[in-house]
Symmetry: C2
Amino acid sequence: MKVGLDIGGTKTDAVAVDSAGTIAARVRLSTGWGSDAVIRTVLEAVRSLAEQVGAIESVGIGIPGQVEPGTARVVHAVNLGVDELDLAAAVGPELGVPVRVENDVKAAAFGAHALRSGGAGSMAYLNLGTGVAAGIVTDGELWRGARGTAGEVGHISIDPHGPQCRCGQRGCIEALAGGGAIAERWGRPGALPVRDVFDAADAGDPLARELRAGLARGVAAAVRVLVLTADVDAVVLGGGITGLGPRLMADVTAELAASAEASPFMRSLRLEERVELLPAGSPAAALGAALVGAAREGAFTRG
Amino acid sequence: MKVGLDIGGTKTDAVAVDSAGTIAARVRLSTGWGSDAVIRTVLEAVRSLAEQVGAIESVGIGIPGQVEPGTARVVHAVNLGVDELDLAAAVGPELGVPVRVENDVKAAAFGAHALRSGGAGSMAYLNLGTGVAAGIVTDGELWRGARGTAGEVGHISIDPHGPQCRCGQRGCIEALAGGGAIAERWGRPGALPVRDVFDAADAGDPLARELRAGLARGVAAAVRVLVLTADVDAVVLGGGITGLGPRLMADVTAELAASAEASPFMRSLRLEERVELLPAGSPAAALGAALVGAAREGAFTRG
């Protein structure tokens, strides 16, 4: 059995996958804050799965931070309170199996690809969470790029007069479509600020309408960038904001349809048909981590 | 010997390449207008090279139009007066060797990659001609994508209030940085309108300054898109506009430096160091066509 973990800011999703790629067991735990708590969460999740499925061959971990190429060193996992951590060194000796670590969006891209098509075709996974980033998978391989920034479409500016992005630029896709940026511009308390924005927009609130329109604009732009640059067959949307489901999709497809209306070239791309939503509760990220964890050195990645 | 042709709107560049990848002979011809003239140009170029180097094994042709995936059928090569043409069927029987056809930007990307690094690393070739498009090469393979639009960064909008693009959208990179769009907005006669714009901008003309700034803005945006999406190691600029050489590069690097100044994230990408200019008169496109022409089925491409 291969184990995969998706360590999120609040929850950790863990699966055990058999040799046929089928999920044999799944557990969900709260993620603690800080390196020690993250390490404890990993050990507890693996132990819990091992009790259910028996022997484990490998562990893969998807984590929301920068993973240094070719290592298991995580840096700047700010949502977890982790500044720097070699996760394989921290949990490998106790687990006694190979441990690999991958950026969570890349792991989710890989898992979404496996779930969607069993590894055929090309796909981008566009994560709409606090930030916006994508993972690109083609021919069964994760596109990692030369220096680790492949899929960082969130920091492409699409409007020189757009809102200030935390990165320092103006009008970045993330400044329009990132949950963090939307919550900050909305500025009212609430557990699910983007949902509040959608509700308030429905009720006619002008700021909410502007923010909601900006979200659709940002997501549509990211889809165009991914198709026009990497020409992936499909763009799968995932991440916290996609909890809005059909309401989000309706806005995004309307935005794509509007640009297709204006442009025969855009129309020829049939973007509305190429955008999909990852089902709520999908184990894509944990599954992807399990597959990355079981990969031989250098497999599944290119660029 | 492998022969490669780069069929341009006015000139055709043709090379014969030996088994070590060295250019053994090169000829340049005027390109005729329309399908018959294009066919005659191809036959004449190959004949002329054969006289110099002897037996020829394969012919590859780069052409400014859409090449239908897996075929030699060229459509919409408007600069050549070709609406639709199966170039392999048209010249293959007379030449008696395998003929492959590739979009000229993709062929140039492949050739630039071979010239630059002998096939190592990843690279995008950004063609600044009448239009703007890129070819992406990684691990020695051309990134073709799922539906033939990989590298079409020219039609990514970076400004909702930017100039109207011929594609129907507003503020496309091509509407700012395409030679055709610049010439149209400049609107004054001249054989080299973009050069005229640079000269007039130096002399203080306000429209010229705006157009010149827009060109730099568009090119810098294309570089950012290519690095943030595909994370290529380097972006090589080529095409007619790059005849402006250091004047263009100074504008583009200043634009990239300005965004690095504003954004620590952009600064970390070191974009100024990753942009290069294809040397004037480089045989990249014809060489790339020769390599594509000699490739086995399915080689050199992925996505």
